[in-house]
Symmetry: C2
Subunit: 464 residues, 2 copies
């Protein structure tokens, strides 16, 4: 073949060998150098291009390793058959689809907010960098389907100290988000269960369980949470509860009710309690009550937890703690399912917990949320003639119940007219009750203290 003509640029940030590699690759791809053609020797091409021989060798090595050329011992380099090779052209850059909300709201009191200004970016970067430091093939190999053992051990220790959960790492199964954990749990449980839900309810879990084909039973609440008498009168086998902070009412289930629930579960062999502890992390008054799981001596509680609320929604990391009986079934019929969480993410969160960052992060977020909580309650005082506050001791939202006969719809509509988004409790009810009191949810995780002051002033002016 003729000498390869190429216009090398010594002023480019692309190294010379890479430029040579790209020239030849492009000539092979578009057929200028056909299959079977011999390439010039590295020595000859180096002389011709006035570069060092090792530069050409590097380029040829690259072409060789990607299958564009083949080497024949003592004869030289030849263009290979390239039919099977990948050549992916970059698409013309289409403008990114703008999905601007443009809802017209100036303030959004969403009860599902997580403040991301508090996200520990520096620590995350540092840990991520350290974990990817070495070429650890182990990190990219298929992992334990329950999640890495060392991560589950760190989790187990955290759960014991922070939540009073009594378990061994073997009982923990890690998964990518709470929705997935419920899907996996349903494979372990099978479909022959009727599942009771609190009403009003955490809709995401209720919807997921329903879409998995389970029959569900709504159970109403009193001031201690799910009514166990109503539960016992139903034909439910599993009770799905949020005892540390009922969503959305904010009720913290007292120890007595927890014991009644456990007793209900103990009465039949196939009864279980799903304890969803998803936002137990933030509590502003008194000592936290240990998880229901910690009181369970009979292996009746399936404990669910997540890092989506306490670190960030995009951290896809949740887990369940299975009681002995279900662990056995999981080991037989669920363990073959591959883990959904990358080992890198598991390592980052493990170090985050073990090196004390998680403790500091939680305390920092709690302090931040508490200040907002205090400001919100302070600012709401002028409304206290017409309504009462509840569910304010934990989580990142509270409830305002109006006693003046106005409807939720009217209250929400009035706020909307002034650019403020608030949420009605009836959206969380499985069945709507007639003549219920109008109750508004105010979440404060996504608003600064200043925004809370501004927004509540407007709310008062439009509600009073």
């Amino acid at each position: 073949m003729n000498e390869l003509t190429m216009n090398l640029r010594t002023d480019s940030r692309i190294p010379l060998y890479e430029q040579i590699y790209r020239y030849i690759r492009s000539d092979i791809r578009n057929g200028k150098i056909p299959y079977g053609e011999k390439l010039p020797s590295t020595r000859a091409l180096a002389r011709y291009l006035e570069v060092s021989r090792s530069t050409v060798e590097l380029a040829y090595e690259q072409l060789l390793s990607e299958g564009y050329i083949e080497s024949e011992p003592y004869r030289g380099f030849y263009v290979a058959q390239i039919e099977g090779l990948y050549y992916i052209q970059k698409e013309r850059s289409e403008p990114e689809k703008e999905e601007e909300k443009g809802t017209g709201y100036s303030y959004d009191f969403t009860p599902n907010g997580v403040d991301l200004k508090g996200f520990p970016y520096n620590v995350w970067r540092k840990l991520s960098k350290e974990i990817l430091m070495d070429d650890k093939t182990e990190l990219f190999r298929s992992g334990d389907s329950k999640g890495e053992y060392s991560f589950r051990r760190a989790l187990c220790n955290y759960l014991y100290q922070a939540r009073g959960v009594n378990c061994i790492p073997e009982q923990i199964v890690v998964g990518a988000g709470s929705d997935y954990i419920l899907m996996l749990l349903s494979i372990v449980l099978g479909k022959d269960y009727r599942i009771a839900f609190e009403n009003p309810v955490y809709k995401q879990a209720y919807r997921l369980i329903s879409s998995l084909g389970y029959e569900t039973v709504p159970i109403s609440l009193d001031k201690s949470g799910m009514k166990v008498t109503e539960l016992a009168a139903s034909d439910a086998d599993i009770a799905y509860v949020t005892p540390s902070h009922q969503y959305p009412t904010g009720i913290v289930m007292p120890v007595k009710r927890r014991m009644e629930l456990l007793k209900w579960a103990g009465r039949k062999e196939n009864r279980y309690i799903i304890e969803d502890d998803y936002d137990s992390e933030f509590r502003y008054k008194g000592k936290p009550i240990p998880a229901l799981q910690g009181y369970d001596g009979a292996g009746k509680v399936i404990y669910l937890g997540t890092f989506s609320k306490s670190i960030a929604p995009a951290i896809r990391l949740s887990y369940m703690v299975l009681p002995e009986s279900l662990l056995k079934i999981y080991n037989q019929s669920g363990k073959f399912i591959h883990s959904t969480v990358s080992k890198v993410d598991q390592c980052i969160v493990q170090r985050f917990i073990e090196d004390g960052y998680y403790e500091r992060h939680l305390n920092k977020m709690r302090a931040m949320y508490k200040s907002r909580h205090d400001v919100l309650i302070e600012e709401l005082k002028p409304l206290m003639n017409s309504c009462r506050i509840s569910g304010e001791h934990a989580g990142v939202h509270l409830l305002l119940t109006f006693r003046d006969g106005r409807s939720e719809k009217e209250l929400i509509e009035r706020a909307k007219e002034r650019g403020i988004k608030v949420y009605g409790l009836s959206d969380y009810r499985i069945q709507n009750i007639e003549d219920e009191e109008a109750t508004i949810l105010l979440g404060y995780a996504n608003l600064t203290e200043i925004q809370i002051r501004e927004a509540v002033k407007i709310l008062i002016s439009c509600w009073n």
Copy 2:
């Protein structure tokens, strides 16, 4: 209160403010400084400790932000109520559970291997670092439940160019691994389908679909893949196929059979084909046949793909391409389920594809696997009197069928005695057939060329 006595170390790598913070935190935690106690002013403590005032201020700020102390305007800093604060002690370091395999095998011809020495560590680190560079809150906010739009667009472009898949980004749903994708698909489909599987079969998918409660139907293969006449005679509604490289037989389904399959699906409204294209990336002979999905004009094909085989098993990233009719159902009943893949991972893989790294990686891996493939076939020549090779044109394993009446069990046992692990085809059959020919699977992704030469020499000596 008395002055705080602490032994600061200027030679420590822990900054002074952090040392002060830790001393005070520890004194508050263990009750030495009780609730309500006033802390010395920053000025006084700085003078006493002989450090700058800003150092003490930093320490107090830290304590304040984590809720250990409270500031009262014009009065100073007081110890806060710490009941609700997190204090997670590091567990005594338990020895890591050694799960050494210790199987006694010197060579393992697993057909499920992925070579990780070819993993692009440098690029991965670089992309990961660049993506985490800025404090982008967007990166940690809850994302699109289908996966990020820009990632799905890059995927769409890749699938069109490399696999001939015809779709728009809206049809793609991303998830953490193929098992999860099947779980999600089952929520979209509902349970009223009978699913036909190739026999022998890719067991992971078969097992997962079964454990989701579906009725399954095994359909036998001829040399073109799943027998469509047998499929048509069955009562199956969905055919699960691996046309680009049938697992485990290695059959590449010819275009004619693909058309017959599509025709079968077209005959009834609720029939679908699940095309699992999970290891289509490596092909050593001739031009790749485009995906079945590319021939589908009637919206009958559900296309499944993954990065676990082509990049690394621990990259938990798979996807499905839904036809119009199922996309509608997904949008109604599956879209509420949160994505299982972190945005960071989606960003890394998107850049990996768009910046040309994926193309280069695929070509490199293909060249590496092809060399091993060539060595294996070369080394197996002495066995060609007693057996024949099949399924060798793609993927990372081939099959050896013995015509000398020996059983699979005997062949596997003999190899085992010499420290070599090989796999029998009968393990992949849904029902075993009597008098079937003994067929051994040899995977070469986890063995170097030298190891292949060594291991095959031993196999020949024990099988001949």
